[in-house]
Symmetry: D2
Subunit: 296 residues, 4 copies
């Protein structure tokens, strides 16, 4: 196995629903295909963007299979398998491996704040049941737990926990990861408005839903960084900052759905309690996309 | 229907598991009976203490039925039916009503931060499908959303949303509820270390897991307040403050399980990733209970 | 010396300025006299309300003398002598003692966050130079340092540090003070919107600028607590809550000045950069005072 | 006048005291000379590092004159003239201009949180009395006010407010400055651990006390950015990160004093309540400097 099979722009598809709030697999495959064709370096279904926690087991499995079939090994897949209980996390991790996922992403979801030892046991229990690499995901805002660099170091001692996704929104944390975990640590940025700062700090990749709407800008930023070009990176980042802030502030599933519609693509429906953006918000998004000359 | 059927000490049972991490219904009934016999004014299964989010649908239903059967109308029951999706919330609210619950408690759980309109629609959709009263529960720390007094006012306009449980941990908020919602608003305190301040602010009741361990102190505090006795209330509260802080800081399911064992009661097992308290923590709890002369 | 010479309603006068932004001692004495006649239990010049940090040494000394002369031993005086440097704090503490102050209040002002040891040395250095009691004042929002109960315990070991003013705005902290420092600790509440909760927690007194505008309500609340009457205390507190929140949110010097003018009293001028409240804010304050039937 | 006379590494000297806690002007000049000879691009006396708020008027004036004399126009000087009152700020700004300062830095110090209008009036009042450029300094942690990009935009409309120093510690804010204020806005980073991210975001310069200890690393980082070299910038930044974090966490005056002593330089004394670092902290700093091969 490739221990660190991911880099660059890792694109997060939404999970679209039909008008009865049932998962729309046909549309999901179509949206996944768009992301592959746009040049994204990997596809990550069942993340926050993919409303993982709002789906039942059967729906999660259907999305996993649909994504892997559609991508068909053209690029790597990173499947979200997080669950509140260790038992269900193992269940979905095993399913993803069997279905052909390149890697899985796991955030220690917690209703009750977990101790460091509980988190290590959780990852260890899952890791011992699968052979593909695991990306440990730190996002205190959605997971309820802030995994310190010291804890992440313990997790990286588990053989197939090889990658870290960092979404605290604090660029200092990324610098600390390198100081604490060694300069070769594979870490990925999950905070859209920190994309430039994260690359400057040495991030291997950027986990983002933005390629659903502005793939060229996302990819160009990555290339500018690869080309060691501070000036271009800065300009490209400033160009996309309004869009990045908008989709984060409005909630990724709502904002991506609205953006797809504005771009003339089908965005499907949301599942309640999530509701579409208000008209005024849609107008604002329209204005932002028009500035990019993505709509006329 | 009685619009505000709850007051006083509303006791939260844990959901105990067997050594295979399966729900132990026999033990659950036994622990529920203890709470009834202790003099608690109501029983509230499937709260945070009852690890609601770690249970599957069938388990939630089994606990609901077991609780209502065991209580057998001796005191009211308040069943937690919160779920991330509106559809599942309705499903469990209807089940609870049919099983005979006195009222249901609903927190707007949110992975994606919900807008005020989404929250109102969510409660409205559930309320329209049941006839028993709903307690709206505000707890930003676990629910991810802080419902403002203005939003709560909108919710109270829904006919069977009649009670508010407030757990921001900010006593000012309780005063504001009375200012904004009228002095007759029925609100309940869900923050253990604020118990005295909340009663001083006019709370109708206290939602708490503490009666699993120290029912007499909890009830005595309520009685001192009923008797308009500041001095006794203060002394009784100070007596139980260490225990209240301990169970909150360590996580209610872990702390109550450990406390039951110390008291010579069966506390069952936890479901992973939750793990028992460490030995040092158990010693600290032992010391706190010994100070109350609850253990020798 | 009386180690704990203060209790009840401790009233904070503003420091009024003339139109050239010079301290107006005549008006200051008049406002001080109003507070004494209103029945306040003590007078505390040179607090935050008295814009201590905006005054030079000579001005601080003039206010100290004017206050003590005007009060003329009818009730105790508590003079603010806080300063960034230890040397200047000693200077003003000695001046206050010599001028006849009953006690001094000291907050460890800090531009650079002080360590616990630095804070203890600071109080110790001042305490060794005076014989009157010192009130240690904890207010992280204005002082920049949050003194833990453990640190306050160390300060109380200094012979003439005998009182604590607590303004973290967290009622739990007050309960902890009693747990950590003993039930006889003399502590005072400095957070207006927590007045009721603080008295319920056993506060000896309430440090407040509100008696400049609503002395009767402030005093009645204290009496209801003394009379052990939860119900009246609750009603009286709710009656004054809007006013308390207003003066805190708008800044005490600005709000008290505006309120005095509304009540037909002279409020003087502010010193720049502080500016008077905007018209809309004054209208809001007018409405709040009208509800109390303090203006027609 | 040059509207934006500053760029690159802007070095902050400490204000050293003798053993009687009096300002040591001879040592101050020596330390200033070191900073000039190290290659720093500008010198900024009377910042937080220079303990501005702990000095009286005469001391501030003496430091201002000593700095300007010693620098002798070899590089620009940026003199801190912030004060709580508008009147004193004007006084020191005029003094600095007359003494020959290139520019002045002003943070809206606030004991009482200032409104946007009060802040604009404050800057406007000072700006109208001097002709040299003003750097507006945003640092909520020490100033107590967070100036929004919208407010900064208003300040930049005042003719000689031409530069912004941003120390919120949030790199997003720097991106927003460019979005809101135009790509040509002159902004400077005042948060040491954000040095790399700030340059990546387009900062004109870095305001820092670090050149007292590691001038070559600071200058090399700036040069790597000028040379558009992401990789070197990253490596150079990681090399100095521990030192930057140490001096920020321990307080700049304490940490720089200790570091100078470790490097074999005279660091003078601190003014109480500030005390020297503890032995353990000094050992940690020694270790960090040894890693840089700055001590053996």
């Amino acid at each position: 196995m490739n221990h660190v099979p991911l880099k660059g722009i890792i694109a997060y598809p939404i999970t679209p629903f039909d008008q009865n709030e049932q998962v729309d697999l046909v549309l999901f495959k179509k949206l996944t295909e768009r992301l592959v064709l746009s040049g994204s370096h990997a596809i990550a279904p069942l993340g926050s963007t993919g409303v993982l926690p709002y789906l039942n087991d059967a729906e999660k499995q259907a999305i996993t299979e649909a994504c892997i079939q559609q991508v068909a090994d053209r690029i790597p897949t990173l499947v979200g398998v997080s669950n509140l209980t260790t038992e269900r996390t193992i269940y979905h991790a095993k399913f993803a491996e069997k279905a052909g996922a390149t890697a899985v992403m796991i955030i220690p979801m917690s209703y009750w704040k977990l101790t460091d030892n509980e988190i290590v046991r959780h990852y260890d229990a899952v890791a011992s049941k699968i052979s593909i690499p695991i990306m440990a995901y730190n996002n205190p805002a959605t997971g309820g737990v802030d995994m310190s660099p010291t804890l992440l170091k313990r997790l990286l001692e588990i053989p197939n926990v090889t990658m870290i996704k960092e979404s605290t929104g604090d660029v200092q944390r990324m610098h600390l990861l390198k100081r604490e975990l060694g300069e070769d640590v594979a870490f990925y940025n999950g905070s859209n408005p920190l994309a430039l700062a994260a690359f400057a700090a040495g991030a291997n990749g950027w986990c983002t839903a933005a390629p659903n709407l502005i793939p060229e800008l996302n990819l160009s930023l990555y290339e500018a960084v690869q080309n060691n070009d501070f000036g271009s990176a800065q300009n490209l980042f400033l160009q996309q900052l309004d869009l990045l802030r908008f989709i984060v502030n409005k909630g990724l599933p709502r904002a991506i759905q609205a953006g797809l519609n504005i771009l003339g693509e089908e965005g499907g429906h949301l599942r309640a309690p999530l509701q579409p953006l208000a008209n005024q918000e849609i107008s604002e998004l329209n204005r932002i996309l028009r500035e990019q000359e993505l709509v006329s």
